[in-house]
């Protein structure tokens, strides 16, 4: 317990839902307030900026569809990361796992003779498998060889990005692309269906929603979910209970990497219809998904909401560029700020603030 003047800070073990929601909103509000200053410095009235963004993203069908389109990969990666973070596995590698899925989908689409009705399912299955494989490697490295998960997953993003580059400049360069570094376009039977007048590849969206629900059930209702939670909350207890770290880590990264792989399938089969420069495929979704998962605080269902929020921020970033003619880096500044404040308010979550009127018992000296 700590006291400053009339305020008493008490530690609490588990933050309440209201506290989580309230403080998360507070973080977003602070970030928005600081952004106002930046808008203002650019000579754009913040009120005009926010109303324009609100109108153009949420006020039109087109805007909403754009938000949804951006939400899909964030949702899939985000749900996967929620599972991983729940077991305290720091998967920073969704970006590379997404690309792995995109590579597998491209292989199925261009280089296999799988007939039409099975082609798209095969792309998803192999995309999941490729992402899972890219996720399992760091899990094995961590449990068997104590290789730090943050480092291995981060480094593997770069390895996969260079691998994709090699593919599109080398063996997979499309003969119809006049020497440019793209694969050929996928045949039509490998294109995902879209919502009308939009680029929302709804099958991937459905898979994402299903994944969120399934993940929530796994975490709350199954033995695996229980083990994941124990490993994450208290490794010592997990050890006493005889829970296999290897098993849990493998499962967690299989799901986490696999879901990111599905996001990659969606991007190439739904939007690009070919493999291209890795930066243009992943677009930082894998990194942004870290914020999505962080904000969801261990709940896959909450990731639906938080991925929508960041889908909105991506769409708003495009709007800021087009409508307000502002530099594109502004989204980066905003994402950085919001991330800082999110982790900044974290500390508050574990403290309960109480106002004490009367000087009563002295519950101990300052310090926790």
């Amino acid at each position: 317990m700590k006291r400053i003047g009339p305020l008493v800070f008490e530690r609490r073990l588990a933050p309440t839902r209201t506290a989580i929601l309230g403080y998360s909103l507070l973080a977003i509000l602070i970030a928005l307030a600081i952004m106002s200053v930046i808008f203002w410095a650019y000579g754009v009235s913040p009120i005009k900026a926010y109303s324009t963004i609100g109108r153009t993203t949420l006020g039109t069908r087109f805007g909403l569809m754009e938000v949804l389109r951006r939400t899909i990969p964030l949702l899939l990666c985000g749900v996967g990361l929620v599972i991983a973070f729940r077991a305290k596995f720091w998967n920073i590698g969704a970006e590379g796992q997404l690309l792995a899925g995109a590579v597998a989908a491209t292989w199925v689409a261009l280089f296999t003779g799988i007939p039409a009705p099975w082609k798209i399912p095969a792309m998803f299955v192999l995309g999941f498998a490729a992402g899972a494989l890219w996720g399992i490697i760091p899990a094995l490295l961590k449990v068997k060889l104590q290789v730090n998960d943050v480092i291995s997953t981060l480094m593997m993003n770069y390895i996969m990005a260079y691998f994709v580059k090699w593919l599109i400049y080398g063996p997979w360069r499309g003969p119809t692309m006049r020497g440019f570094a793209y694969t050929d376009l996928f045949p039509r039977d490998a294109w995902l269906p879209l919502f009308k007048y939009s680029k929302v590849h709804w099958p991937t969206l459905l898979i994402g929603l299903a994944a969120a629900v399934t993940a929530a059930l796994i975490l709350s209702r199954t033995r695996l979910g229980y083990e994941i939670r124990v490993v994450g909350d208290s490794p010592d207890a997990a050890r006493y209970a005889g829970i296999s770290f290897l098993g849990v880590s493998l499962w967690v990264m299989l799901l986490s990497g696999g879901l990111a792989g599905l996001a990659g399938v969606g991007e190439v089969a739904g939007i690009h219809h070919r493999l291209l420069e890795p930066d243009h495929v992943s677009l930082g979704y894998g990194y942004t998904a870290i914020i999505v998962a962080w904000l969801a605080r261990g709940s896959p269902l909450a990731a639906i909401v938080t991925s929508l929020l960041f889908g909105l921020i991506f769409a708003a970033g495009d709007e800021i560029k087009v409508t307000l003619q502002m530099p594109f880096q502004i989204t980066g500044v905003f994402n950085g700020l919001i991330l800082f404040f999110l982790i900044g308010v974290e500390v508050l979550l574990y403290w309960k603030v109480r106002v004490v009127r009367k000087e009563k018992g002295w519950a101990g000296k300052a310090g926790s």
């Binding site: 020497g179 680029k199 930066d279």
Partner: protein, 383 residues
């Protein structure tokens, strides 16, 4: 659905109103940041020039649009009332075509691609003649007989440029080689720097490049070696060492195109065959390292002192040769092409027969390397 129809209606109406008032709102979509000091920078410079010049014209731009995202950006520009949209990256081709079909009342122009439509034109300002002229000078300046070339991507555009450059080098220095390094990026200063250093280590002493930064010019100058600038005015980055280079004037194309739209010559019906392939005669490109400076005066003497025995012009200094060739690309009527046959590739295959000029198709799909090119050449055709 009803809302969408309404929206489309409003958009159409706005478009019509805009056309009625003969106002044009042009949207420019860039793949890079306008601060790249290369491709996107040059397009944006041109946009600002035409924007200033015509009071019936309003322009907006969107920078750093990743490939695959152009469709959504076009939708937003249309919603904002743009009636002409330029997309400036090869990777925007399919997205632009889809948009052209989606918005039959908007005029599109796509840079560097090959797909056109009723309301979608293509355009390109090409440098191969200028690269050839620079090659003549590079051939005269190399002492080691090795010229370095730092190149972004192994695509036909760059292969054409390297080939034209090499033909120039060998015209005045038949034994000289052009050593090529690819950096696999339009913009990666560290890669460009190390590629240049690798070429220096191989003994190259004159440099040309195709990449979006002044790195090669800076590194060459640091080592006291001459170089040829690319794309943006780079003379100021190494005033004593940049000999010449190639500069772009996208505004010539933008001006021509927009004026014709304004005058009603270009409509949403007749663009399927409009393809700008503008070079020196149209003024879309310029020889030099800074506007108006074709050859750095500091290097004139050396170029004048280098005299070759030319099969057509006899004893002639390279300086004069460059001037003559430059005028042969001039308006009206081009009387010379760098790829004038016979041209053999480095595997000995005759690619352009004697006495002929390459077709446009040959130029834009060029995959082979001419004799004298040394180094890796991804996608090189078998014999």
């Amino acid at each position: 659905m009803r809302k969408l129809v309404l929206l489309l209606g409003i958009v159409l109406l706005m478009g019509l109103v805009a056309l009625g008032a003969e106002k044009i709102k042009a949207g420019f979509i860039y793949v890079g940041p306008i601060g790249d000091y290369g491709w996107t920078h040059a397009h944006d410079l041109a946009r600002r020039i035409v924007d200033e010049k015509f009071d019936w014209l309003e322009t907006v731009y969107v920078e750093s649009v990743p490939e695959g995202q152009e469709g959504a950006i076009i939708d937003r520009l249309v919603a904002q009332g743009c009636n002409v949209i330029f997309t400036t990256s090869f990777g925007f081709m399919d997205g632009t075509l889809e948009a052209a079909m989606r918005y039959p009342d908007i005029i599109f122009a796509h840079c560097s691609g090959f797909k056109r439509y009723n309301n979608m034109a293509t355009y390109m300002a090409d440098f191969y003649q200028v690269y050839y002229l620079n090659g003549l000078m590079a051939g005269a300046l190399t002492k080691t007989g090795k010229v370095g070339y730092v190149a972004a991507h192994p695509i036909p555009e760059l292969k054409r440029h390297i080939n034209a450059f090499t033909l120039g080098v060998r015209e005045v220095n038949p034994d000289a080689e052009v050593h090529v390094r690819w950096i696999y990026s339009w913009y990666d200063p560290a890669a460009a720097k190390e590629a240049t250093e690798a070429l220096i280590a191989e003994g190259c002493d004159v440099f040309a490049f195709t990449e979006d930064s002044p790195t090669v010019v800076q590194v060459a100058a640091e080592n006291g070696l001459p170089s040829f600038a690319h794309y943006s005015p780079m003379l100021k980055f190494a005033p004593d060492y940049v000999v010449s280079g190639q500069l772009v004037h996208w505004e010539k194309i933008y001006e021509d195109f927009l004026v014709k739209v304004h005058e009603g010559l270009y409509t949403t019906e007749n663009l399927a065959h409009v393809d700008y392939w503008w070079t020196l005669p149209q003024g879309a490109v310029e020889l030099g390292a800074d506007f108006g400076v074709a050859i750095n005066p500091a290097w004139e003497d050396e170029l004048k002192a280098y005299v070759v025995d030319h099969p057509i012009f006899g004893k002639i200094s390279v300086y004069e040769l460059v001037m003559i060739r430059h005028s042969q690309f001039g308006d009206p009527g081009i009387t010379f092409d760098p790829f004038q046959g016979p041209v053999y590739d480095r595997k000995g295959v005759l690619r352009i027969p004697k006495g002929t000029w390459p077709s446009y198709e040959t130029l834009v799909t060029m995959q082979w390397a001419v004799e004298g090119v040394v180094g890796p050449w991804p996608g090189e055709p078998e014999e």
